[in-house]
């Protein structure tokens, strides 16, 4: 593509309208000629087609090719030079912009590469990717049925099906939103509103100190939620977990008593299904019993572990999840929907979500519309414009069917088991614990440390190994695996195998 094929925009500057082409006499307002469009999408066709070719070659095929690097490391300082980030008065040619597209892809980490095990998501899902391209081209926003008829209905259908998988037979509610952290915040706010509807109007300064409970292994978004929602991080009571990472129910019960004895008001428990580091599942049944006894909202953060519900073999890990009041579940993790795809699901059938969140903006949620305005779901959200992320899950679910989703989940479990076996067999590797889910946690112990006696000094040395190995792998571009310290444990690798491209 050469620079001659640049977009129509540069030819038809608004400063030089062509009076022959224009249907009406020139209209000049405040020195701006208004005749005719100044951007013609047909003129952009070559650019769009060429960029799609680059995306297919570089961001899809090459990015997922195991023979290619998972990343091309540059320091921030070097990369700034390479990218030439500055924004200026003059624009650039389409040819130059296409080079910039290539560069942005080249220097990005390939999260879809078969050697990317760094986060709780991975892999390329073609159907979901195509769905997200459609969304990006159409620019829908999910305030109202009027503006997003297709995606409103799709979201409803996906939420319905996900509730069915959870085991909520009829009714219920929910919303997709921008990340699992936000879903957890929705839960905290909804539980609070359920407990004390006055908080919405009067605020927390008008009510006693509210307290919520979660395990020490929970995701950090619970703490962020407490800060953001004005509850305060100290009012998150942290329940100890056992050595597998599971919340200890008796400890929960004790903490609830402690809070009550302090005059605080417990209102919710967050149980985690699939903790971030260890992949542990809190015992939901026992926690649900305690919540019932104390009349507390039970939220299950299944952002990571919810995928197990798709598997007949493994769904027992979330036994009792149907007793939760709300569930957060991210299909963008193990189920591989494109980022972001995060459902917040609610058991309530009385419109609690709507009452909790509604602000009834009259310019958006008019009540005198010509269709059933119960389809205008936007007022259930803390967002105003909201992306139709459910479509990215719906299209791939249609293509694969529940059966193939189940197979992928079963394969991820089997991969974790296999990797754990290999780690145990191989010299210099040491497994932290048998995986319950897809998180395989292990230390790599270099030859120089293998024969040393177990001691604080040894572990201090092991602690420094993972960052060095990671640096080497990233500079080579061979693999990306996360590591972290955890409690009293020295830095260890946490490897997550999700992608069906993995071999």
């Amino acid at each position: 593509m050469d620079s001659d094929t640049e977009m129509h925009r540069k030819e038809s500057s608004s400063e030089n309208p062509d009076p022959v082409k224009a249907k009406c006499p020139p209209v000049l307002v405040d020195d701006v000629y208004l005749n005719g469009p100044t951007l013609d999408v047909n003129g952009a066709e070559d650019f769009i087609r060429e960029s799609m070719r680059i995306i297919t070659e570089d961001a899809v095929k090459k990015a997922t090719d195991v023979r290619e690097k998972v990343c091309e490391w540059h320091s921030p300082e070097d990369l700034k030079e390479l990218l030439d980030l500055q924004l200026t008065d003059e624009g650039e040619s389409d040819t130059r912009i296409l080079e910039r597209c290539r560069d942005a892809i080249r220097y990005s980490v390939k999260t879809t590469h078969p050697r990317f095990f760094n986060q709780l998501y991975a892999g390329m899902e073609p159907y979901s990717m195509v769905a997200s391209f459609i969304i990006e081209a159409l620019k829908p926003s999910l305030y109202t049925y009027e503006v997003s008829p297709v995606f409103t209905l799709v979201e409803d259908a996906v939420l319905r099906k996900m509730r069915e998988v959870i085991g909520w037979k009829e009714g219920g509610d929910g919303i997709f939103n921008a990340g699992g952290s936000l879903s957890n915040m929705y839960a905290v706010n909804l539980a609070r509103y359920h407990h004390c509807p006055d908080v919405k109007e009067l605020g927390l300064s008008a009510v006693p100190r509210l307290v919520l409970f979660t395990s020490q292994e929970c995701h950090y978004s619970i703490s962020k939620a407490a800060a953001f929602l004005g509850i305060g991080t100290k009012n998150v009571y942290v329940v100890p977990s056992d050595n597998r990472g599971k919340m200890i129910p008796t400890a929960l019960e004790e903490l609830i008593q402690t809070a009550k004895s302090e005059g605080a008001v417990p209102f919710m428990v967050n149980a985690t299904a699939g903790t971030t580091v260890l992949g542990a599942f809190d015992p939901i049944e026992e926690i649900a019993d305690i919540c019932e006894k104390h009349n507390l909202w039970l939220h299950v953060d299944a952002c990571w572990g919810g995928a197990a519900l798709m598997s007949a073999k493994h769904k027992h890990l979330l036994k009792g999840v149907h007793r939760a009041n709300s569930v957060a579940w991210n299909p963008h993790k193990m189920l591989m929907a494109c980022l972001q795809c995060c459902a917040f699901l609610v058991r309530d059938k009385t419109g609690l979500l709507q009452r909790c969140y509604s602000a009834r903006a009259s310019y958006l949620f008019q009540q005198d519309k010509f269709y059933d305005v119960s389809y205008d779901t936007g007022d259930k959200s803390v967002q105003c414009s909201r992306k139709p992320d459910a479509f990215k899950f719906w299209l791939m679910w249609k293509a694969l069917g529940s059966k193939e989703l189940e197979q992928r989940v079963d394969r991820a479990f089997a991969m974790a088991k296999y990797l754990a076996q290999e780690v145990k067999k191989r010299e210099g590797f040491r497994l932290l614990m048998e995986p319950e889910y897809a998180n395989v946690c292990f230390w790599y112990i270099p030859p120089s440390l293998r024969d040393l006696p177990d001691s604080t000094e040894l572990w201090e040395k092991i602690h420094k190994v993972a960052p060095v190995v990671k640096e080497r792998m990233m500079k080579k571009g061979s693999m990306m695996v996360g590591y972290q310290p955890h409690g009293d444990k020295a830095n260890f690798f946490r490897m997550i195998i999700i992608s069906p491209q993995m071999n």
Copy 2:
């Protein structure tokens, strides 16, 4: 494309590994064969290529073609039938999925169509669209430089430039996030933290009643923020606006005194630059004086009006914006970046944003990395995974340059002025007020009502006109324009002309 070209996934089911192709002997774990990938992206190439053709033809070219309909109306009940939404055990062929893509596009509202004037965004921006395709294909998430090197630096560069446009000469901070509502929430939380850092840990039940101020014309997200953040909607003190929709500074000053006399603690003022319905700009200079006097955080919600800052001719509307402590500005509105693209910008240079939001998750924000971890910006966010929306603005800015962005803004202003003139000239149309920005508000008065005397009954009749006209336009697919009642005003149309495709 016929069904023979379906993806490799269906040929290489994990149940039937081909021992000839496999390099290693078959590995069976829990009844799952682990040899070889079960999804081959090369096998999906035909599907991806064909879907891109459909997207280009239907979602780009046809969607923006003025000769096509802006929407194809169906009731929710009918559309459910047409879409066949149900999710089942078995998957569908690629051919069927491509039909579903076509249908999803066909029945969606074309927000990029030249006759879509329904929201505060419109039009097709090819560069930004391509940027968002790249994001969707690469699936980056902005926690850390390690995982998103390119997009971390791009976000930094865009925030820097936007701060420069605001007039903050050096330093400052900011973050892109999922919607302007969320940006406003960030502002409320940051102002609160600035005023009283203890709230993060101790919560609002430990401090006096906090109060914030905003005008009656502000966006409903301020009220949602107060509810969500535990402040309470009643602690949003609503300042009257004048008949142009601008906050009355003397009324603000009085309300601050009222709050103080009640023993409440004022902590912030939200000024709106470009109100949602009328497009009014609050007088920032005068409000800034009051904020300084009372030591209040000044947030400017310029989600809609921020675009005026790009225009030498019109930036006076935000005079004094550099005195704000924070600004919300959505390039996805008048500047046409793809949805969503929302910046929250902060004047503070001391790391307030980081201190306010950080939770220091050790599995993500390790301090022993081999690069400068100040580039790991994820802990400034309430989200965990976060999309690199800044890239959608950066690429189009690179392509167009500030100059063409300015021309687009000037054209939108001129279009509004022209439309207002035409409305005044044309029989049966009545302008609500001269537009200050791109919001042109008017009534359509049908022939039967034109000669009636001005009375309550007349306005009750006029109130019913807009919903009927809108219904007719949507069923015809000819145009989409928003309408709403406002204060004591009967339903009127609010027309927003942004798209350079408009003629």
